[in-house]
Amino acid sequence: MTTRITVRIQADAFDVADETDALNSPNEDVGAVSTFIGYCRSEGGRLNALELEHYPGMAEDEIKRVVDEACTRWPLSSASVIHRYGVMKPGDGIVFVGTASTHRAEAFAACEFLMDYLKTRAPFWKKEYRADGNIGDWVEAKSDDDAAAARWTSKT
C-alpha cells in the first residue's frame, strides 16, 4: 500500500482540522482516522512556557524513518507527523500525529507507535520557563517513555 506521508518540523502552530481532513481525503476507503495532539502543560501553574530545541538537520529525517517503520507494520493510507519547535505556552499544541487506515485497530496502533517512537527517537529537547520568572531545568527523559517504545520491539 502506498502511504501518503506528511512530516513537517515548524515553528508555526498547526491547524488540527486541516491536518485531520488531509488524512481522510481524497480516499473514500479510509474508514478510520486516529489522531494525537500533545500540548504544552502548565504543570499545575508551575510553568509559564516550554522551549523546544531541535536538531534541524536530523529531526525531519529521523521522524521520516519512524513513519517508514510504521508503514511496514500497518496498512496505512496516510500518516502525518507535525512537530513544532520554539517557545510554547500552556495549551499550545506541540505535536500532531495522525494515521488513516481502512479499520480502526491499525489506525490506533500506528498512531500510538508513532508517538512512542517520537518520544524516544526524535531529536527534540524541552526546557522549562518557570512561573516564578526563572529559567528552569531541561525536562528529563522518562523511563516510562523508553518502556513504551520498547513494547513495540517484541510485537509483530
Binding site: G38, L52, E53, H54, Y55, G57, M58, D61, E62, H83, I94, V95, M115, L118, K119, T120, R121, A122, P123, F124, W125, K126, K127, W138, V139, E140, A141, D145
Partner: protein
C-alpha cells in the same frame, strides 16, 4: 589529523559552551565513546557535559549512533541528552 564537525544540543550545548565547532581528531577510526572521552578532557565545561556517559546520546551524520560505533568517514557528530520531544 582529521577535521570533523561536532554539534551539541540542550544541556550538553550549554555545558560545552558552543553549539558547534570543527575540531581536529588524531585519527579517523575512533569510536563515539572515544571521541566523547577526548572531548571531556578539553576543559571543565566539556568534562561536566560528559561526566555521565549514560546521559549523553550521539548521532553520526544525523543518524542515532551507539557508543561503540566508529566515526570513520563521518562529516558531523552530534552529542545531546536523551530526547524529550513529542
Amino acid at each position: 589529523m582529521t577535521e570533523i564537525k561536532i554539534v551539541y544540543f540542550a544541556w550538553v550545548r550549554e555545558r560545552v559552551g558552543v553549539a558547534e565547532e570543527i575540531i581536529d581528531v588524531p585519527q579517523n577510526d575512533l569510536t563515539v565513546e572515544a571521541l566523547a572521552e577526548l572531548l571531556s578532557q578539553r576543559d571543565e565545561g566539556y568534562a561536566l557535559a560528559f561526566e555521565n556517559p549514560k546521559l549523553v546520546r550521539a548521532a553520526i551524520d544525523r543518524v542515532h549512533a551507539k557508543p561503540s560505533d566508529m566515526i570513520a568517514g563521518a562529516r558531523e557528530i552530534a552529542f545531546f541528552p536523551p530526547m524529550t520531544g513529542g
